[in-house]
Symmetry: C2
Subunit: 454 residues, 2 copies
């Protein structure tokens, strides 16, 4: 690691924080009609900064939605090329009354910087740009070639990103990608995230009588759709928390002993303290960490039927609905799993009701990179060195669609270097970034980019 770079980041810390505060002050709420021009303004802020740093070919690319910023620095003839992805749009700040300070006037309290976007993702984007700046100012070059892609639609589903990347496949070709849009398992615990789950879902409605009917006059003749739905859902999992939909586990990648060790070495959340849940329920044969990180799940996200008001209403409901989503692991194909659940529902719907299924069109495959890959090991070493603590290796039950897109378009490894913490209040009031992670994270990035060149 270049001492000069570290010194530059240290000496310029206040300027960098001010830069970040300016970035955070732009209300780039991508979902808001009212803030359309602010979103573009944040894109322009990023483009200007990249130009200032010394990037070439800085472009504000039109996508049909909010623009995306492209830039490149490709001066090395031999070095590998990295692709950095981030996003400059943010979630709405509402409910405003729950913020302790103005969400768009960043404020520092007890070691945290509070603002909408502080952690997700403006703060983490700025850490990369600051490291690029430091290298250019001190060494006159970046350690590796870099392409930068910073979009403005992540918080609204990145609807225009995949078609754009497909159309610009050549331009974005690189040797590896880096994304900092995630977090560590806890404050101060360096974390190497090397896998994400995929995703599929559907909604099922069981139709019974064509209107709610009197439970006294029809109970015993007409099948109760709420009871039928319970029976159907209950059949989808057994008492060992195993999904009983035929074929569900068929294509799951086996969990290697080596990975099991990594997962079980990661700290476990105290669910009783954080959620009031005394008993955990992992799939039989797996620990909680293993299930969370590397086993597929099928969850009921919502369920409703009949009367929900105070007291009683003695009806047999006309229908009952459940919203289901699965988290998938490497090997599982979202379409195949969705098909399997649809077949199961068609097969197992109790008699007397009729099933209507709405397939969810959003889906994602799981992503996993080999934890022994040299680049991953380099990132882990940078993390361990900067935080002074052994890095844990984890996979995450969540899904980040762009990771799968990059993986499938170019099959380059995606290095997920997230510096958030579980207390960052992403998407919620009082979002913040731990300043210690801001500082150490930049050291990690400076070191990692340097190592990438070796």
């Amino acid at each position: 690691m270049s001492e000069a770079v570290i010194k530059y980041l240290h000496d310029n810390r206040d300027t960098l924080l001010d830069k970040l505060k300016d970035f955070l002050a732009i209300q780039s709420i991508s979902t808001s009609q009212e803030h359309q021009s602010d979103v573009r303004k944040a894109g322009e802020f990023v483009a200007d900064y990249l130009t200032e740093i010394g990037f070439a070919n800085v472009q504000i690319e039109e996508t049909g939605g909010h623009p995306l910023v492209y830039a490149e620095w490709l001066e090395h003839e031999q070095a590998p090329t990295g692709l950095f992805y981030g996003h400059y749009d943010v979630q709405p700040a509402e409910p405003l009354e729950l913020w302790n300070s103005d969400p768009f006037q960043a404020s520092i309290r007890e070691g945290r910087l509070y603002a909408r976007g502080a952690s997700d993702d403006k703060g983490q984007v700025l850490m990369h740009l600051a490291v690029f700046e430091a290298y250019m100012k001190t060494e006159g070059q970046l350690p590796v070639n870099m392409k930068v892609c910073i979009e403005g639609e992540e918080e609204i589903g990145s609807a225009n990103l995949l078609p754009y990347l497909e159309a610009n496949r050549e331009a974005y070709q690189a040797d590896f990608a880096v994304i900092s849009d995630s977090g560590m398992v806890s404050a101060g615990q360096p974390t190497m995230l090397y896998g994400l789950k995929g995703f599929t879902g559907l909604e099922v409605t069981l139709h019974g009588p064509n209107r709610d009917v009197h439970s006294g006059l029809y109970g015993g003749a007409v099948k109760n759709p709420a009871a039928a739905l319970s029976q159907l859902l209950a059949k989808m999992k057994n008492e060992h928390e195993q999904v009983t939909v035929p074929g569900f586990y068929d294509d799951c990648e086996e969990l290697a002993d080596h990975e099991r060790k990594l997962m079980n070495a990661a700290p476990s959340e105290d669910y009783a303290a954080s959620l009031g849940v005394v008993e955990t329920v992992p799939e039989a044969g797996y620990t909680v960490n293993e299930h969370l990180m590397a086993r597929p799940t099928l969850e009921v996200n919502g369920m409703y039927s009949g009367y929900q008001g105070e007291g009683i209403k003695t009806i047999i409901p006309s229908e009952a609905t459940a919203k289901l989503t699965c988290r998938l692991v490497p090997g599982q194909d979202p379409q195949t799993i969705q098909d399997a659940i649809v077949s199961f529902i068609e097969e197992e719907t109790p008699k007397g009701v009729r099933a209507e299924i709405k397939r969810e069109s959003l889906s994602a495959k799981a992503y996993k990179v080999d934890p022994d890959l040299p680049l991953i090991q380099k990132a882990a070493t940078s993390l361990t060195d900067a935080f002074g603590k052994e890095t844990v290796f984890v996979r995450l039950g969540g899904s980040i669609p762009v990771v799968e897109w990059i993986d499938s378009l170019w099959t380059m490894p995606v290095i997920l270097l997230g510096f958030g913490t579980p207390d960052d209040n992403l998407h919620a009031p009082n979002e913040s970034l731990l300043l210690d992670h801001f500082d150490k994270g930049m050291r990690v990035l400076a070191d990692f980019y340097k190592k990438c060149a070796q």
Copy 2:
């Protein structure tokens, strides 16, 4: 049957209909604060009419809520004494825009009289009073001694009736009771209703994490309360539609062959035509009619958990709730059954969630009168004669609490002579009374009261 009485009813039909229209014009909506004085006005209307007919001791009794009208005619020394119960309050008329005519200005179309309360219960109350009037005008006396109890709180649960009856047990002592607050299985089909189901219920909420959590980050560790609720509910019934709660059927009165014959002789509804339900699901070993009329049921009336909006929200819900009610048959004690379900829930709640139970305080025992009882047979003969068709004997899955109260306070048989039809739109817009049933019903009552004297 007295020919003079029949002639009187026939000759005075228009006057009686006008009387009914006046009664229906009073907006005696018991649930409405705004119509408090209208409710009393309807009580006074009833009291005035009873006085006019020649009843003695006509009282408007204060109950703490809406008043109740008592009257008596006890001139016979030897004849039995009947107790007639009815109610003069009505449901709200909303939504008003769905009515084809003013709900409080009765209007006749295609053989039906349309107005709120036409069938439930002002129309049927007036039929009794008209028959009493006819007897007094033609024979100068009623065929039997009569006590009359017409309340104003039936549509809000008769909360003050039971304490009032308990406090006035002596005054209401009689040999039999007659109630016309129900209906026939279809228009023109004379129906002897000789049993009602009882009722108990509860609400169960399964609590998981203390807030909705991310299904990716917690799926596999934390039990899903919606899935847990499905599993719990699914265990309460088997695939033969038998309730599997231990003890549920223990005290059920056996269904005699004789009764089975009666029930199966009653016409069955065409559920495909009326409700779009192709397949019926009676309990194994019983026909649909038998299950509807004489087997207990356990129904989910409402169920809710998590996200109910458009699209997906990938959460594990914090909790899941189901509202359950049972319809009970003779022999079953509501408290015992509620206890059995509570024990079942406590026993069978899946691990990882905590059950919270709200017991429903309303309950009722089932009511049944021996179909071979002479008074029942007399009523059936009156029905058959007036309608020109063999009377069917049915029991009903619904509950009428006052029937059980009368039965348990005095153990007198309650003769349920209802003249409504399934198309009367009770509690709904365009409530109506079939005028053919109004006319024939009065003949039935005239004949039945006469037969009671014999």
